[in-house]
Amino acid sequence: MDFLIMNEGFPLLSTIVFLPLAGALVLLFLPGENVQRIWAMAVTSVNALISLPLYSRFDSTTAKYQFGEHVSWIPSLNINYTLGIDGISLLLVLLTTLILPLCVLGSWTYIKTRIKEFMICLLIMETAMLGVFMALDFVLFYILWEAMLIPMYLLIGVWGGPRKIYASIKFFLYTLAGSVMLLVAIIALYLKNGSFSIPMMMGQDYSSTFQIWVFLAFFLAFAIKVPMFPFHTWLPAAHVEAPTAGSVILASILLKMGTYGFLRFCLPITPLATLTLGPYVLWMSVVAILYGGFTALAQSDMKKLIAYSSVGHMGFVTLGIFFLNKQGMEGAILQMINHGVTTGALFLCVGMMYERTHSREISDHSGIAQNLPIFVSFLTIFSLSSLAFPATNSFVGEFLVLAGAFSVNKVIAGAAIPGAILAAAYMMRLLQHVLFRGPGRPDLADLNIREIVTLAPLLVFVFWIGLAPEPFLSVMHTSVEYLIQQVDVAKTAQIAMNIVP
């Protein structure tokens, strides 16, 4: 267990994972809709607060997994309950705990029926998502990875829009079908290693054929979750029909699980396959960036526009990951956080407008700048952030990704550049319509305090990451270097193999 720094004393990670679940159980017995809302808010906020020490006590000088917890679970199969975080998962955990209270706030008045059940679904989702980022045992990971489908299905299927049945079934089937082969790959890896421990599966000497099959099984599951072109078709449907909180969770956190899967599993467990198949993934990413951009340009539905823009943004993330250098990968991880902050905020904005106008069409919101100055200021900043305007968070991320890309392969990097321009085009088109076109909507009220409080934390992060990204980058340096080193070891071994036949 030399990969894990055990946590002495208070089991912080377990508390963070299970607090929402315990909150959900208590919520079962709470009467009164307002009490239920406040309780859900309290649980998620407390969870956000107690997750802060993860950052302050995090040791960024080691690539080992920290705050480790290890309990035997099913000894006959060597399955353990192992939790731990490193520089790659730390920020994602913090993002999750930050986003959830905002989801509760954002659905305060949006959700009018069955509030208790809605909040229970949100809290169960939080437990599952946090567990996915912390799990160091593959069975634990898989259980949480799949278990979250049920509450997410209910969030879309019960509280969703008019085509919710189609959207929720498509989401469920797509993601589940993608991950059944993941299970076979996990079992195959277990039979090679005798353990389900993820770190113990890394750096093993698997044959390259075995690695390629495992990589493909991983890739299918994670690419659907990201989602990469051509596996993205579930995403617009799910986003459009989901309630605001569902869209925010989907965009900010669920999508990150796919790219997190690449970083945590594909690269270190199957490095040879990554080197062999990486170039294809890079081209797929380029296609995703361009496809997402062009499709977003043609949308008249705001949620669809943001959904397709997610396909493009996530393309930048996979691009950064599979160039396999430090800048690109750090940019990719930062871009994961940025996308969570910015796209989450944009979905919240659309949700706030939907509550007022019951429409998501851009044309129904034309010219509202005269009537809703506060809202439009928020929307403008988040839109600029989404198109990677300098001084906002996405600029830093995309810059790092592209810097990493140009240092390796100028052709692919160059091919991705139009994506950045497209992002500007579709976001500007949205802004132009909302700000200047049309007569305005004098009947609409501007944001109230609750809504401002919902958006303000995300605004802070937009500028914080945009102007001073070092606190966010510094925690990941060591882990990213170690990850690249893991891949390089395989590369040198492969070269040696080729020289000495």
């Binding site: 259980i143 299905y153 209910l154 299927g157 929720s168 089937l173 589940l176």
Partner: protein, 471 residues
Amino acid sequence: MLFAPELLMLIGSLVLFCLCLGQGKENLARYASLVLAIASCFLSLATLQMNDNLFYDAYRIDMFSQLFKLAISIGLVIVLLFSGELKGVDDRLRPEYFLFMVLSTLGLMMLVSSVELLTLFIALELSSYSLYLMVPMRDDHGGMKMQMEAAIKYILFGVVATGTMLYGMSFIFGMTGTTYFSELVPKMHELATTPTAMLAIALFMSGFFYKLAVFPFHFWVPDVYQGASNATTAFIASVPKLGAVAILIRITTLVAPTGGEAVVNMLMILAVCSMFYGNLSALVQKDIKRMLGFSGISHAGFVLLGLLTLKDTGYATSMYYIAGYVFMNLACFLVICKVSKNGENVSIDDMSGLYKRAPILALTLLVGMMALAGIPPFVGFMGKFMLLTGALRDGHLALVILAALNTAIAIYYYLSVVRVAFCSPPEDRPDVPVDLATRCVSIALIAVIIFMGVAPKQLLAVAETAVRNIF
């Protein structure tokens, strides 16, 4: 003391027989059988650690048999609790109905303890004949005589399967000259590679493939499930499968750990066919009981994955899986029995808006269906996961991939039930009244399904010890 659970059921069935003689005793009969079932749970639990042979070594009491008896009794308790009012069965027939239910359970309890071929046959027939009689005991809905058709199909297929099984037994006796399992096992291991031994084992198994509804002995399933009353189907779909798995495990021990390739191949082919046949047919069903019938066929295929490893761990996993299956299935049937107002059949559309009409039932349905589909953290996932691990460890990669694909196919029809229950409006369907007992059983089933899925450690350990000492 050793024979206590069976003795109790025997005396109980005599009492129920006396109750049948009078009139208007249906409530008394109901509570008498419930008390019997609960008492037999406790007696099975009390005899769990005992170990002995009875009746000139034809009958064996050990942890394996007692565990199955416990599971069978628990299954009976649950069925009686949620379907005790027997909607859809004529008042005058109800005491007899309970009598046959208890007799069938008695047969199954004797079955799992039988270690001699003739005893095994008699126990099996006792349980089967009671079931044959329960199927036609249903009100005639719409004059279609659907229940009669089902009963005829059930008995005809049953008799054919029994005949095949007896034929197989005759081979076994002919080759070894004994009917006692304890003597059979070493002799069969010696003969393992002869074609006759393979044939004998295959034929012998077929009787239990019929009970478990494994392809190609599944033909009775959809019609019987649809034709029998909801309570009968709930019983047939769950409890007898426990007995079938117990005996299939015993028969599989006849196959030598090495050199049983033909039997393993047969089991593999049957498993794959069952899974595909069951899942693909279930996709298009409108009647929820028929759908669960086809899903049962595919689950039977999954159970075979554990048997074909020919290892103790594999057998233990199969035990765990079938026990989990009984609970998941009963959770679904509980909802069916409650949603059906007068004992009529329930179509999938009748579940529309269930989450508004009866939230607790909708939750039970969600958990039951998702567990059957194999979504974590429920028992269905853990069982499938361990079955796949065991099969892959034995090198059956193609089989495991096909099984995994089946999980993906299956999710569609389970999800379509959940979809109507949660996403469709109820329209003018009435609310479903839920009494306290049902509420408690629902919560208990949900808890068991989650608990077995999250903490399988002890259960597996117990099952493995039980399997290790079969003989």
